[in-house]
Amino acid sequence: MAAYVVHLAILAGIYIILTVSINLIIGYAGQVSLGHAAFYGIGAYASALVSLHWHVPFPAAALTAMLVAGLCGLALGLPTLRLKEDYLAIVTLGFGVIVDLVFLNLEFTGGPDGLPGIPPPSFWGIDFRPPWLYLILVSVIVILVLIATYRLVDSYHGRALRAIRDHEITAQVMGINTPAYKVVVFTLAAALAGLAGSLYAHYITFINPETFGLHTSILILTMVVLGGMGSIAGSVLGAVILTILPEMLRQAHAYQELIYGGLLMLLLIWRPEGLLGRGKLSLKFLKREG
């Protein structure tokens, strides 16, 4: 039982990183990404491949994962972030499908069989194989990520991002370089998703394309909307609830996606600010004229 709780806590930690990172894009910059699981996957594969082939230590593998996922985010973000929100949603969704197909069809990603035998992290003389040690590692990284995002959104840059979300043209007029901000935040979020991917790969020690498909992107999105777009505490709560809830409702497994879809619709109609969204930041108050 205790081992199971630790397992869930590790997964929740990984989802918190994913949710907090996509919340930067959705809740702060006001852009939709439906391909976040692709960056998660890119990070997982990058980290697994460098560990398997070159036996690099975990910190270097995790950094590689962040770098590769971040570069992919930059490459996707540069041309597409000029687009309106809804176009961006489709492009990122299409990107997710393409990345999924790449994992499935390439030789060195192992195709549908994936990559087994990824080494668990072991560095600074500590072997992180026992789950509770891994939990400590994940917790430390989650806390660092949370501190960094809190500092970011409370800074000048965070306010600039919210200005872009609320009204892009006004933000531009105020002298904010909106395309640069959007690209940077998208790249940053992709890199964080890559980090989450690395943590996942070295914990489960086996990855295949199935984990990084569209349903994972949707799950992350649901976590953000449930917790409240534009609220970091909300993202954490959303991630924890939707990691634990499916486990408690094991018998209702078949209804899982039905619940997520319904939850998204109902939340937006009745409580668009989510569980913890603050009035000031909630999208309810972004109602546009006309």
Partner: protein, 287 residues
Amino acid sequence: MFFQQLINGLTTGSVYALIALGYTMIYGILGLINFAQGEIYMCGAFVAVLLLATGKVNFFLAFALGMAAAALLGVILERVAFRPLRGFHPLVPLISAIGASIFLQSLALLLFGPNDRPFPIQFTFSTINIAGLPVSTLQIAILAAALGFMGLLVVFVRYTTYGKAIMACALDRDTARLMGINVDRMVSLTFLVGSALSGAAGIMMAIYYNATYPRMGLLPGLKAFSAAILGGVGNIPGAILGGLLLGVAESLGAAYISSGFKDAIAFAILILVLLLRPQGILRGRGD
């Protein structure tokens, strides 16, 4: 070989075009991407297949009822998931549409199970020669039906009062309202027409691939959206052209480049179009 792939591409492309018309019309009037368009397509196919499986209705009635069910679903969806959110930040209805799409897909999964259903009646199709090249009559029938529906839509939009009213709303909702057009009713009508076309597309694909399953709408829906952007969102001839081009590109790409990446071709084209010519081939209303 090349000719055969071209015909295959035109057949699937004409179906993408039918779905793309729904996207384009709805985007034109509401500025909203109806993510659940693929599920409306799936609903049309399921209703027709289930009705035919009872053996009590003939093909044409089942086809019409399938379209009607899809249209009804579209109208209900607009009422439930989009209308309460009109005027919000564009993120909000977009995410609601994604929710609707997942909800409908998993509902179908629960109701009908994950397995493919074959089309209940078998048509006997032959291969005929056109200018010395073999073409299946099934493909000709699908192409002809799709083009017929597109023609009807163009006539409806250009020459009927309701069609013109929809266009007026798409151009400027507030002015249309001042001219005495009931905008809400026109939005409902747009969903009705667009969804009926998607339903028809679903039934045709159910016959073509001889398979109906809950997730059948996912990829055609996304590809049709790419087609709508390719042609210029909000532009009706553009959606038709975009659909056909995309179908052909996909079919040729699968044959000559790599069949494993068949589904990636549409999205690669989408990203390229948005990069090089975001207004689409024919100028659309989106920017």
